[in-house]
């Protein structure tokens, strides 16, 4: 029987990877829960407030984006816009080429993953090194991140030790501390040789033009210390009205992402270094990327643009915990990815239209979301869109038979009368399409079909009303 792609992937997943993903996501979910509970009497209201801030922002995106541009320009940054993936990549390489730069260091940015920036730069002959430890390992392995916050959640220390050995970073050693020290030493050389640093941004304040970057490793800070040009690639939806809003958002981001009150390094950058300062980039470029975000804004799923990329919905999701990130076949995995990836796919929507079905709609993703995105509702809207666009759904039983029964009272009544025959069939031994595996381990209850109508009739008579049309 045909299977959903995600089911096939999960079935073939190495059980040790599955166990590692489960352990790590479950423990982060617990830490988040404990910290929010200890620090806030009503964390739920704070989440809803953050959701209102983000919803307000995206519903006034024209105003706030223009304001952010104005503030950044005032501070001496150059602001660019990119409509498509290709535009975004070209904007970056044009700036680098204009400055004769061939070596750059990058800090982690989901939008750069989305536009495949590293592939583009490599094709242009520019060395671009990922500086986040996890992202670096993903890069040398030619792999893809499997979690928004923890890119190598799917790799073991042995995998990493083998990759480091292959890349000439030392003999095989799987001690996490040794791995980290080797990366530190290697990356030092790369930072000091690089001429430009590429970052994303977690937020951009409209009124003061501050890019907010959060990291635990300190890599984004290192990308902006010895380099002479800073290029930030930012989705247009990352804007927030002011610094006051950050009090709510930053207090939720670290707690939701990693169970930390604040991430170790929270940086606020608005502009190149000032005159007389000894270090920091002399030029700052901000590239605001659309890449179909305006299409999402126009759709019935615009709430997904509130997302602040904390990964809490991945950690809590029973499907993500079983399947890990690559099961989602796209840059954004988990519940947020099941919504965002098909929306950002454009005319390839059909290829990812199965993702919104990879959910039991349990609602846990909404409950942990720091900006209260109604993810289950959005999943349903996308399922509806897939239906409207006639996207085939392998493994889903055909419902035409039921539709016929349900819309023809006479056939329905007949089926209810003869349905009792099922009690005498050895269903567990018969090849029942779609239900076969299920019936092997379960028995069906005795047939009770058809009783509702007679019950309804007798009830109406007792109440002294007309039976009316019982169809």
């Amino acid at each position: 029987m045909a299977k959903q792609l995600i089911d096939t992937y999960v079935r073939d997943l190495d059980p040790s990877v599955q166990a590692a993903v489960h352990r790590s996501t479950a423990s982060t979910t617990d830490k988040r829960h404990v910290l929010l509970g200890a620090d806030f009497a009503d964390a739920d209201s704070l989440r809803k407030l953050a959701g209102a801030i983000r919803e307000h922002t995206i519903e006034h995106l024209d105003t706030y984006l223009a304001q952010a541009e104005e503030s950044l320009t005032r501070c001496g940054a150059k602001v660019h816009y990119a409509v498509t993936e290709e535009d975004a990549c070209r904007a970056v390489s044009d700036i680098l080429k204009a400055n004769g730069i061939t070596k750059v260091v990058k800090s982690k940015s989901m939008v750069s993953e989305e536009v495949h920036l590293n592939d583009h730069l490599a094709a242009e002959g520019i060395e671009s090194i990922e500086s986040d430890l996890g992202e670096y390992i993903v890069q040398i392995d030619g792999d893809h991140p499997s979690h928004i916050v923890r890119p190598i959640i799917h790799k073991t220390r042995g995998d990493i030790a083998r990759s480091f050995e292959r890349e000439g970073l030392g003999d095989y050693n799987d001690d996490p501390e040794t791995i980290t020290r080797r990366a530190r030493k290697f990356m030092r050389g790369k930072y000091l040789a690089a001429e430009a640093g590429i970052t994303g941004a977690n937020f951009v304040t409209a009124d003061t033009g501050r890019l907010v970057l959060v990291t635990n490793e300190g890599n984004s800070r290192f990308c902006l210390a010895p380099t002479r040009i800073h290029i930030a690639l930012i989705g247009i939806e990352k804007v927030v009205p002011s610094e006051a809003d950050l009090a709510v958002l930053l207090n939720l981001l670290g707690r939701s992402a990693t169970g930390q009150q604040l991430t170790v390094y929270t940086e606020f950058i608005n502009g190149p270094r000032r005159k007389g300062q000894p270090s920091g980039p002399e030029e700052m470029h901000v590239i605001f990327v659309d890449n179909r975000r305006t299409e999402v804004l126009a759709s019935d799923c615009k709430e997904i643009l509130r997302c602040i990329r904390c990964g809490a919905c991945l950690n809590v999701c029973p499907v993500y915990r079983q399947g890990s990130g690559h099961a989602y076949r796209s840059v954004y995995p988990g519940p947020v990815g099941a919504v965002l990836s098909p929306l950002l796919a454009g005319d390839k929507f059909k290829e990812l239209a199965d993702l919104p079905k990879a959910s039991s709609l349990c609602g846990a993703c909404n409950e942990v979301c720091p900006v209260d995105i109604p993810i289950p509702d959005l999943l349903l809207r996308l399922r509806h869109r897939a239906h409207e666009e006639h996207v085939p759904s392998p493994g889903t039983p055909p419902m035409e038979g039921f539709a016929l029964l349900g819309s023809h009272p006479l056939i329905w009544r007949t089926a209810m009368t003869f349905g009792a025959a099922k009690d005498y069939l050895p269903l567990d031994k018969m090849p029942v399409p779609y239900l076969g595996p299920w019936l092997k381990t379960r028995t069906l209850p005795k047939w009770r079909g058809g009783k509702f109508r007679s019950w309804m009739k007798s009830r109406k008579v007792r109440e002294g009303r007309q039976g009316g049309d019982d169809q």
């Binding site: 009497a41 996490p176 990366a183 170790v264 390094y265």
Partner: protein, 201 residues
């Protein structure tokens, strides 16, 4: 049509049909403060307590700091001119320099810089380009000790955001550089300091 014009036109086209738009929520003062903040006592003590919890080593006097540093394996210490008062005592334990350059990144094991402020609620050290001009000095050495004036400690994260200095590069540091990328195991000192210190003055 330029990319900018197209994006703004598309945003407008997406938003125009909305029957109404969510108004800007009002943010009551202290709305995101930790619930224990009000009863948490004096700010300097709270700062030390929270910073320690975040993994920062706090010193209440230069003498304590000197004693601690003398027990570390330190070859060379960077002390910038604005903190030159500290230099004589620290030069008793090892070589002290007031110059920080790229070529010395591997020789300097510890650096002092002055902090622009702190946040008691989270035990955060605030660095700016103005307070800490050399970005590398506060980042590359294994040990970084920020010298923080107690009267510059903000009570809450919200307070710190309400009075952001006019500086293009503000950094909040809450503990040492760390990662849990390898199997979720916590390791300190990835790219930045493995030991983050704070000397309160």
């Amino acid at each position: 049509m330029s990319a900018r014009e197209k994006i703004f036109a598309d945003i407008k086209a997406a938003l125009d049909p909305l029957p109404e738009r969510v108004p800007r929520p009002t943010l009551p003062r202290g709305v995101a403060d930790a619930q224990w903040l009000a009863g948490a006592g004096e700010s300097t003590d709270l700062f030390s307590q929270r910073a320690t919890a975040a993994g920062t080593v706090c010193f209440s006097s230069a003498t304590d700091c000197l004693k601690w540093l003398s027990e570390q394996q330190v070859r060379k210490i960077y002390i910038p001119d604005e903190l030159s008062d500290l230099a004589p005592s620290f030069s008793q334990i090892t070589e002290v320099t007031n110059l920080y350059s790229r070529d010395q990144v591997d020789q300097i094991d510890a650096a002092f810089t002055s902090a622009a402020g702190g946040i008691a609620e989270s035990g955060t050290i605030i660095l700016t380009d103005e307070s800490t001009p050399d970005r590398l000095a506060a980042l590359a050495p294994w040990i970084h000790i920020a010298v923080l004036r107690m009267d510059r400690i903000h009570r809450s994260i919200e307070d710190a955001l309400a009075t952001m200095p006019d500086d293009p590069n503000i950094i909040w540091v809450t503990g040492p550089s760390k990662t849990a990328d390898v199997e979720g195991i916590l390791i300190q000192g990835v790219h930045g300091p493995g030991i983050q210190g704070c000397l309160l003055v």
